[in-house]
């Protein structure tokens, strides 16, 4: 059973885990959440802009949106993060100070927005054309019909895909460590890795991994919940009613509907 003990010692050294846990929670988890949530919020806003541009009737909006999406979706995340994190380091220093943290968030947002833009675009395009037509027929302008009717329906449909995207961002947030974070800015992966290097044992990384799972696994279940709850057009179960009942109601209703004078 030597190999078993070796595995336990290498991956599941609870002493080493316990030692690093306070740091993992207070620094790692906190930063991972800050980076992921900030990148998701920014990415969602940008993604919506990209999506609306992408379905615009004007090709002057459509083509740039296409190029943007192809670019940030087509490049490896690490490459984008390094190019932006190091390429704009000087500019960032004059705005945000020496920390690469904001640039990491921005790079992640740009990558996320390309994916989220495609998600939104697919959602908006999946809305029945009749919805937009009904709006236009009522005199609503194109932007108004999009904002009030079409886009909200499209977004509701893609909520599950958005949660999936958030999960991807949580995992990608670990890549920010390449930019060289300050001690207090380290996210889960970096905290785990530093401890692993110091102790010569992988258990702190396993602990970090478990914390990632604590975030991502419940979210995957939230996806299913959204899927059931927020899809429109799903009919609540109701006892069957005869169409004849409605006819009877109508006959008894206002004179306008039946054309009678009583």
């Amino acid at each position: 059973m030597d190999w078993f003990n070796t595995i336990i010692r290498t991956f599941f050294d609870f002493g080493a885990m316990a030692e690093v846990l306070p740091q993992l929670l207070a620094v790692g988890l906190l930063n991972t959440l800050i980076i992921s949530i900030a990148a998701t919020v920014l990415g969602t806003v940008l993604g919506m802009v990209v999506a609306v541009m992408g379905i615009s009737p004007s090709k002057w909006l459509r083509v740039p949106a296409r190029i943007y999406t192809d670019l940030f979706r087509g490049l490896p995340a690490i490459l984008t993060i390094l190019l932006i994190g190091q390429g704009f380091a000087r500019l960032s220093q004059s705005i945000f100070g020496p920390s690469p943290y904001p640039l990491g968030i921005i790079a992640l947002s740009l990558i996320a927005s390309a994916y989220i833009g495609e998600i939104f675009r697919a959602g908006i395009l999946s809305v029945d054309k009749g919805q937009g037509e009904a709006c236009r027929a009522l005199g609503m302008s194109y932007p108004k019909s999009m904002a009030l009717v079409v886009v909200p329906q499209g977004v509701r449909r893609v909520l599950p895909a958005l949660v999936n995207q958030f999960i991807a961002i949580v995992k990608d947030s670990s890549l920010v460590y390449f930019l060289g974070l300050l001690v207090t800015e380290r996210e889960l992966f970096r905290v785990g890795q530093d401890a692993a290097v110091l102790s010569g044992n992988l258990s702190p990384l396993v602990a970090a991994g478990l914390l990632y799972l604590v975030i991502t696994v419940p979210l995957t279940h939230l996806v299913n919940y959204f899927d059931n709850k927020f899809r429109t057009g799903r009919r609540r179960a109701a006892p069957p009613t005869s169409g004849l009942k409605e006819v009877k109601e109508l006959d008894a209703a206002s004179p306008l509907t039946t054309g009678s004078n009583t």
């Binding site: 029945d128 009749g130 919805q131 037509e133 009904a134 709006c135 236009r136 027929a137 009522l138 005199g139 609503m140 302008s141 108004k144 009030l148 009717v149 909200p152 329906q153 509701r156 429109t232 057009g233 799903r234 009919r235 609540r236 109701a238 009613t241 169409g243 004849l244 409605e246 006819v247 109601e249 109508l250 209703a253 206002s254 004179p255 306008l256 509907t257 039946t258 054309g259 009678s260 004078n261």
Partner: protein
């Protein structure tokens, strides 16, 4: 097949329950419409007097729906003109034009995440700029007029097809249009619910609304229409009173069409 026919009420009191409409005249002059290179409507001319009902009949693919969509410019005409109350519809902003023309679709096109009341109120506040409370109040009254006072809080998925179509009619009427366009408004309904919607439409006609009705309900066309227009292959083949068209069809194409549908 037995076509449901609305009860035509000729007594003057039939319109007493609801205020009269002030329908405008509608005239098409050499209207030509195309999808890309393909002309689907050629030189259609047609006059609808204020407060009268014109039914358009004809086989599928004859351009009936396209004609309606040209009038409110959901599809821009290629050439010719549309005159609404004597003014060219092509010379004004389409959004403004559409507030003056109500349209009812075959598949209702209600907003699925809005209640019946919100469906009716949406354009009232977003297009007409009515305060929301007032819009909701008016929406309730419009719904009551179509016999749906009890269903104002229901979402479309919880309404029958007939009820949904009546919400759609209330939604169009709430904008106080001068002309109403009906695009096969009863084609998607269960047979027992058709009569209720047709009766409602007939009532509007009696109250002075100008209506252009694309329909497969020959009984409705015969009883309610002041003018019937038979279209085939993008052209008006024959137009006249219901008696002229149904009892003495002159063209061979109309004779054949009637022998198929009656």
């Amino acid at each position: 097949m037995n076509t449901p026919t609305p009860t035509k009420n000729t007594t003057a009191g039939g319109t007493a329950a609801a205020p009269a409409f002030h329908g405008s005249s509608l005239e098409l002059r050499n209207l030509t419409m195309a999808y890309g290179e393909i002309e689907v409507l050629r030189n259609v001319s047609l006059a609808v007097a204020p407060g009268t009902t014109t039914c358009i009949i004809g086989p599928s693919g004859s351009g009936k729906s396209t004609l309606l969509r040209g009038i409110n410019r959901l599809h821009e005409p290629k050439s010719g003109d549309v005159l609404l109350a004597g003014d060219s519809a092509l010379a004004v902003n389409p959004d403004t034009l559409r507030t003056r023309i109500g349209m009812v679709f075959q598949h209702f096109n209600l907003f699925p995440d809005h209640t019946a009341e919100e469906n009716v109120a949406l354009a009232l506040w977003s297009v007409k700029g009515m305060p929301k409370a007032q819009a909701m109040d008016l929406a309730r009254r419009r719904l009551a007029e179509v016999g749906l006072a009890e269903r104002a809080d229901h979402r479309p998925r919880d309404l029958s097809g007939g009820q949904q179509q009546r919400v759609a009619i209330a939604r169009a009427l709430a904008m106080e249009p001068e002309v109403m366009l009906f695009d096969e408004a009863t084609s998607a309904l269960d047979p027992e619910l058709v009569k209720g919607v047709l009766n409602l439409m007939a009532g509007l006609g009696r109250r002075g609304m100008t209506m252009l009705v694309v329909t497969h309900e020959m009984g409705f066309a015969r009883k309610v229409a002041d003018q019937v227009v038979f279209m085939d292959e993008g052209e008006v083949v024959e137009a006249g009173t219901p008696t002229q068209l149904f009892d003495n069809p002159r063209s061979e194409r109309l004779q054949r069409f009637l022998s198929e549908v009656l």
